[in-house]
Subunit: 338 residues, 2 copies
DNA sequence: GCGCGCCATCGAACCGGTTCGATGACCGAG
DNA sequence: CTCGGTCATCGAACCGGTTCGATGGCGCGC
């Protein structure tokens, strides 16, 4: 069931079969017909490993994802799905590599084994050893998110700082004077996770610019933590009237805490942030928020990666998306004496 | 940077390098040392395609997932994560194939291109053409979920029928007399999606056995549908006092509907079903439910697949898991005159 | 001291494709 | 009729590993 067998049955040489399939040299119509008949009859398809070896490319992209132990957020899930779909649209397969920190067998296999033509890296830190590793391996790659000093690397990202800034201005315009940022977990912040740090910076800058009192808390990525966290906010800073968050997993807990405290959104409390569209719409009431364009970001990452693979010497490109805030119904004017 | 280069620098032949790396023939300690030094210095790793071609195996597993357009449920996400992790534990990579229906280029590439040593298929239907396709391609595969007549195929699954039956008995024991099954979407049921159909059968059998009045509804996989669906239940069958569900995505909507109707769980209404553990615990109050052991199922699928690959002639094996119901706090005795 | 056997290593073939240079048949122009 | 050029096809080399049979050197036993 290999190309030699096809050639034998069609009465031609192996190279002729190869050319008939690839079209890289002309083959007479009659011969093509005969070869195609044999192929259809035997259900032949070329061996991917052999082809990869000969061509020097695997027609496969690597996608480095956080290990399953760390649950994926909705936004991350959106990335994975859109990358896989975008790759499939180009007839490329996606090889998954669960990678946490530095030395990871799966990651190393991907990088040095020439198993993939390029890599998409997600959930990267401000200082991420994997970026360095890929650079020196001279394997094309695109990161979703960007390191502090991207240098010559290609990336796509959402401008968390700008989006959080916009959320703060929105709240300030509504008259809020003391607002809180519910960030991702303290571990992620300590590890140097870009979105968390850039959100914090944007939040502090914007609140300062508008003269608001700023509070920030870190919150583990789970509903229970969201509940605890919100109750702590109410006790510690009772005059806070609005929250900005990028923590999707905490939302169900925040919702419960609001309910338990008898606070109605947006009458008594405003809530906004950067949140996957589906979750923003599932919230009650639907969240006014910057929807992370996960699908677009994933597709863009694949496009950039393919451009980089096609022209290895090209100048690095990147895309910093700043989606508009979708006005839904979770923010309102601050109530005096609220 | 290939094996020939290593051999040249170490002053040995290519086969000696190969044997030194694989250990399949003895190589003197001094030579091994020299080879390892050169390899460490150059950072050499064997080319995966070449190795796959020579060995006839790719050290890669295929995972067929629903296309991204259909959002993954929490349970499905658990499968993907655990399969990837379990494969990584065996130093295997995972190739993703988004596949919906019948003819799918990505699926065909996986099946006939000898890109993978075996395939794990999830989200299968009672009659699934892909199972047939894999069988005739004589490529080892394991399904998560099982077709109606599994024949000689290997599979792992959760016994939805038995679990739903247990839920019904639990409610009957608590005195409920009219209960509703909130199923997955009507499209899935129509397509022949196993869990949905087996749940419905189990539900009808169990309610009949206990003399309960049974109601069933299909509900799209989203919060809004859950809300609408529950409100319809309240109008149409006002005396229903408990619900059983396998629809995770609808839960936030159900929660909101309960709240809107002023029903307190479990005092006024009982809720149970088959639900991912995390979601059951995020619910308010935490759901008494059969937690789908997604992680165990994924690991098991990989184990069975590897067994099948190792011994192609082995008799088909399968595993039907029936996890216990976790008693949390969403079910209670029916209130008279409720 | 000679032959035997073992140990380490080598060379060549092979896996299944792609690609390049060469070859032969055929056609039209001179 | 011959020569040049095109077109279709072929054969061989190559991609980078693995594996099998062969070989050379060495130590040991008799």
């Amino acid at each position: 069931m290999n190309i030699g067998e096809i050639a034998r049955r069609a009465g031609v040489s192996r190279s002729t079969v190869s050319y008939a399939l690839s079209g890289k040299r002309p083959v007479s119509a009659a011969t093509v017909q005969r070869i195609n008949d044999v192929i259809a009859e035997l259900g032949y398809r070329p061996n991917a490993s052999a082809r990869a070896l000969a061509e020097g490319r695997t027609r496969t992209l690597g996608l480095v994802v956080p290990p399953a132990s760390r649950r994926l957020t909705d936004v991350q899930l959106g990335f994975v799905g859109s990358v896989v779909d975008a790759a499939a649209a180009h007839d490329l397969d996606v090889l998954l590599s669960p990678s946490g920190g530095d030395h990871d067998r799966s990651f190393e296999r991907i990088v040095t084994g020439r198993r993939v033509d390029g890599v998409i890296l997600m959930e990267i830190l401000l200082e991420d050893p994997r970026v360095e590793r890929l650079s020196q391996a001279s394997l094309p790659f695109v990161t979703i998110g960007h390191v502090e000093h991207p240098g010559a690397s290609w990336w796509v990202d959402v401008d968390y700082g700008a989006l959080i800034t916009r959320c703060v201005h929105h709240l300030a315009d509504l008259g809020h004077e003391e607002v809180v940022l519910i960030n991702r977990s303290a571990e992620l912040v300590a590890a140097g996770y870009g979105p968390a740090l850039r959100s914090a910076t944007g939040f502090l800058d914007a609140t300062a610019a508008r003269g608001l009192t700023a509070r920030t808390v870190c919150c583990a990525d789970e509903a229970a933590a969201g509940l605890a966290c919100f109750e702590q906010i109410r006790t510690q800073w009772p005059s806070v009237t609005a929250a900005v968050t990028i923590n999707e997993a905490a939302l169900p807990g925040v919702q419960r805490a609001l309910h338990r405290a008898g606070l109605e959104v947006p009458r008594d409390f405003s809530l906004t942030g950067v949140i996957a569209e589906r979750l923003a719409e599932d919230f009650h009431p639907p969240l006014t928020a910057a929807d992370v364009p996960a699908v677009e970001l994933g597709r863009l990452a694949v496009d950039l990666l393919l451009a980089q693979i096609a022209d290895a010497g090209a100048a690095p490109r990147h895309a910093l998306l700043e989606p508009p805030i979708s006005l839904r119904s979770s923010t309102g004017a601050r109530r005096r004496h609220g």
